[in-house]
C-alpha cells in the first residue's frame, strides 16, 4: 500500500468515524503513541513471566528476590533453594534476553527489507543471509577445528562470516555502477540462496552422526544461551537497530517510489546501502548464535502494519518490541510445552504464529501493503 503520509494524517481524523476500514488503517497519533508505551510495558511483563516459568517451577517471589539480590545496593538474604539462583541468573535470564534481542533484530530487519524493497514477501533471509549463515555453521560443525575467537565459538563465528560473505557476494553481483537495482538484488539473493541451500542439504545428508545437531541448529534454538552470547550480540543490535530507527522517515518517503524519493531530496542509493548494511548486520548477528529462526521477520512487521498502520516512524519501533515479545513467548512455549523435552523454537514460531497471523488477516480484510 503506497500511502501519502501527510494525506494519511489529515484523512485519519475525518474518515475515522464514517469508514471503519479506513479507521482501522489510519490509526490516530495518540493511539500509536500509547501502543508504543503499552508494548514497552508488555515487554517487561513478558520478560518477567518468561524468567519465572520454566520446566523447573520457581515461585515468582523467589525469582524477584534472586534478581534483586544481584543489585549491589540491596541486601537480600538467600532464602531460596540452592541452585535456584543459577537457574534464574545463568540459564533463564540470558536465554530470555537473547531471545528478545534476536526477535527484535529479525523483526526490525524484516520491516526494513519490506520497506526498502517495497515488497511484502521480503524477509530478513531474502537476500541470502540465512543460507550463508547455514553454510558457515554447517562448515563449523563438520570441520575439525575447535576453539574460540573473542569468546565466539567456531559455529557462530563461521555462521557470521558466512552470512556477511553471502551478503557481500549478492551486493557485488547486483550492483550496476553506482546504483543498486532492487529487483536484481532480490533475484541475485534468491539464486545464491538456492545454490548455497543445495550445498547445505548435501552436507547435511553426508554429516553422519552430527546430523541431529545441525538440523537442530538450522531450526533455531536458545537452549545454550549465555551472558557471553548476549554481550557479543548486544552491540550489533543496539547500533544496527538504532541506525534503522533513525531512517524511519526516509523509509516512509521511499514507499512512494525511488524516483520520487530522489526528487524529494533523499539520497536513495546511500539510504539503500546504509539500511541494507544495518539490517544484514543485525540479522547475521542474530542468526549466528541461535540458528535460522523463520517466520518472525516476515510476519511480525505485517501484523504490526495490520494493527497500527504502515507509518515507519511507528512501524519500526513497534516491530522491535512486538518481535522481541513474540520470540520470548515462542521460546517459552518451546521449552515448557513438552517439558522437560525442548522443541526447536523455529518450529514453534510458525506453528503458533501462523494461525494468529491468519486470524489477523481474516479479521481485517484489506490490502496490507
Amino acid at each position: 500500500m503506497k500511502t501519502d503520509i501527510s494525506k494519511e494524517r489529515t484523512m485519519s481524523a475525518e474518515t475515522a468515524a464514517s469508514d471503519p476500514a479506513w479507521a482501522a488503517h489510519l490509526v490516530p497519533w495518540r493511539k500509536r503513541t500509547y501502543a508504543v508505551i503499552g508494548m514497552c510495558v508488555a515487554l517487561v511483563v513478558v520478560i518477567a513471566v518468561a524468567t519465572t516459568v520454566g520446566s523447573v517451577s520457581i515461585p515468582l517471589s523467589a525469582t524477584v528476590k534472586v534478581i534483586l539480590s544481584k543489585l549491589s545496593f540491596l541486601q537480600i538474604a538467600p532464602t531460596w533453594q540452592s541452585g535456584t539462583d543459577i537457574i534464574i541468573m545463568e540459564i533463564r535470564l540470558p536465554r530470555v534476553i537473547l531471545a528478545g534481542l534476536v526477535g527484535a533484530a529479525l523483526g526490525t530487519a524484516g520491516a526494513t527489507y519490506q520497506g526498502l524493497f517495497r515488497n511484502p514477501l521480503a524477509d530478513p533471509y531474502l537476500i541470502g543471509v540465512a543460507q550463508g549463515a547455514s553454510l558457515g555453521a554447517v562448515a563449523g560443525f563438520l570441520l575439525p577445528v575447535t576453539g574460540s575467537f573473542l569468546g565466539m565459538g567456531v559455529v557462530p563465528m563461521f555462521a557470521f562470516i558466512g552470512a556477511l560473505g553471502s551478503m557481500a557476494v549478492v551486493y557485488a553481483l547486483a550492483r550496476q555502477g553506482k546504483s543498486l537495482p532492487v529487483t536484481t538484488l532480490i533475484l541475485a539473493g534468491v539464486a545464491l540462496s538456492a545454490l548455497l541451500g543445495s550445498i547445505v542439504s548435501y552436507l547435511i545428508i553426508s554429516s553422519g552422526d552430527k546430523m541431529h545437531s545441525i538440523v537442530f541448529w538450522l531450526m533455531g534454538s536458545f537452549s545454550l544461551s549465555r551472558w557471553s552470547d548476549v554481550r557479543l550480540v548486544l552491540p550489533y543490535m543496539v547500533i544496527g537497530i538504532g541506525v534503522i530507527l533513525l531512517y524511519s522517515r526516509p523509509l516512509n518517503v521511499m514507499q512512494l517510489d525511488e524516483e520520487q524519493a530522489q526528487q524529494l531530496g533523499i539520497n536513495v542509493e546511500r539510504l539503500k546501502l546504509v539500511l541494507l548494511a544495518a539490517a544484514t548486520l543485525i540479522t547475521a548477528a542474530a542468526v549466528s548464535f541461535v540458528g535460522t529462526i523463520g517466520f518472525v521477520g516476515i510476519i511480525i512487521p505485517h501484523a504490526v502494519r495490520l494493527i497500527w498502520g504502515a507509518d515507519y516512524r511507528f512501524l519500526l519501533p513497534l516491530s522491535v518490541l512486538s518481535s522481541a515479545i513474540f520470540l520470548i513467548l515462542a521460546d517459552l512455549i518451546a521449552r515448557t510445552l513438552l517439558s522437560p523435552t525442548e522443541i526447536p523454537v523455529g518450529v514453534v514460531t510458525a506453528l503458533f504464529g501462523a494461525p494468529f497471523f491468519l486470524y489477523l488477516l481474516r479479521r481485517r480484510r484489506r490490502v496490507i501493503f
Binding site: 540452592s82 545437531s213 537442530f216 537452549s223 522437560p340
Partner: protein, 308 residues
C-alpha cells in the same frame, strides 16, 4: 527430476515384483523349508542354511561374528568397526542408506536388517527374492532373543545358546548385587547423549535399562527415547552421577567436556563429587553381545564399592 526418478523407480520396482512373483509361481516348493518370525513380526521363509550373509547394521555384524559366522559375512555397512577385521569386508554403504544395487550384486542368501529398513529397504530386497531377517532389540532380553534367532536361522543354535547363557551369567552377576540395594543406595544417574542441544537418555532406551540394572536411577523419568532437555532440569534434579557419551564422530569428547566445564552445573553433586565419566557412545548404543561389557562398565562407574 526427482519425481521422474521416483516414477522410474516405481516402474522398475513393480516390474521386478511381477517377475519375482512369476518365478515364484513356476518354481516347485522345496521340502524341508521352515520359517521363523523375526523381531519386526515378519514371517521369514528359510531355504537351507545361508552361506552368503549381508549385515545392514554394526550390531547385527557383531552378533554374526559372535556366532563364528565371520567367514559367511560377505558385506557390512561403512559404520562397522568391530571386530577389527570386519573393516576388510566389502561395504554396502551407510546404515540408513544402504546401496541396494551393491547388495543385490553380492547375491546374498540372507540379509540381516534393522527397523530403520522396514519401510523401504526390506520390501525392495524381498521383491528381488532375497531372504531378509530383521533384528529389532529394544532390551537386553531382546538382544539375547536376537542372538538365538540368528543361531536358529544360520544353523548355529548351539553356539547361540552358549553365547546367551554366558551373557545371562554376567548379567546375573551384576544384578545379584544391585537387586539387594535399597532405594536410598541407588544414585541418580544422567546419561548425556549430546550437549548442544542437550540430549539425555530417557525411558525405553538401552541406557535406561543398563543404568537400572547397574543399580542406579535414571534422572529422566518422564520422557522416552533421547529427549532434548533444558539445562535447568539438570540443575534442579541434581544427578549424583553423570555419564557422557564420547567417541561420536572423530573421537569427540565434547559432551564430557561440557559436563565437566559448564559453569551452571557447578553445584550439581556429580560435579561436586567428581563423578562425571565418559562412556563410549558407539559401544553403549550397540545392541550386540558386547552390551554386557557396557553393563559391567556402568556398574563399576555407578557402584565402585561393589564392583572392583
Amino acid at each position: 527430476m526427482n519425481r521422474f526418478l521416483r516414477i522410474c523407480f516405481l516402474v522398475l520396482a513393480s516390474l521386478s515384483l511381477f517377475v519375482v512373483s512369476a518365478c515364484g509361481a513356476s518354481a516347485p516348493a522345496k521340502t524341508g523349508a521352515s520359517s521363523v518370525t523375526d523381531q519386526l513380526g515378519r514371517t521369514v521363509k528359510l531355504d537351507g542354511i545361508p552361506q552368503r550373509i549381508v549385515s545392514l547394521a554394526p550390531s547385527n555384524t557383531e552378533i554374526l561374528y559372535a556366532l563364528g559366522l565371520g567367514d559367511r559375512v560377505v558385506a557390512v555397512t561403512s559404520y562397522d568397526n568391530y571386530p577389527p577385521e570386519v573393516k576388510q569386508k566389502p561395504n554396502i554403504g551407510g546404515f540408513s542408506d544402504p546401496n541396494l544395487e551393491k547388495i543385490v550384486s553380492l547375491s546374498p542368501d540372507l540379509v540381516v536388517a534393522a527397523p530403520i529398513h522396514e519401510k523401504q529397504v526390506i520390501p525392495e530386497l524381498e521383491a528381488k527374492g532375497i531372504t531378509v531377517l530383521a533384528l529389532a532389540p529394544k532390551t537386553l532380553d531382546d538382544v539375547m532373543s536376537a542372538i538365538t534367532l540368528v543361531g536358529q536361522v544360520t544353523g548355529t543354535a548351539n553356539k547361540a545358546a552358549g553365547v546367551v547363557s554366558g551373557m545371562q551369567k554376567r548379567i546375573k552377576a551384576v544384578t545379584d548385587k544391585t537387586d539387594k540395594l535399597a532405594a536410598g543406595q541407588k544414585p541418580k544417574v544422567l546419561y548425556i547423549v549430546w550437549h548442544d542441544p542437550l540430549m539425555a537418555s530417557g525411558l525405553q532406551t538401552f541406557h535406561d535399562e543398563l543404568i537400572k540394572k547397574a543399580g542406579g536411577v535414571n534422572m529422566i523419568t518422564d520422557a522416552t527415547g533421547y529427549p532434548s532437555i533444558s539445562l535447568e532440569t539438570v540443575v534442579k534434579d541434581n544427578p549424583d552421577v553423570i555419564l557422557a557419551g564420547i567417541g561420536m564422530g572423530q573421537g569427540q569428547d565434547a559432551p564430557l567436556k561440557f559436563a565437566q566445564r559448564e559453569s551452571s552445573l557447578r553445584l550439581v553433586s556429580a560435579r561436586v563429587n567428581n563423578r562425571i565419566y565418559g562412556v563410549d557412545s558407539d559401544l553403549s548404543g550397540r545392541a550386540g553381545p558386547r552390551i554386557v561389557d557396557v553393563l559391567e562398565e556402568f556398574a563399576r562407574l555407578i557402584h565402585p564399592e561393589l564392583f572392583k
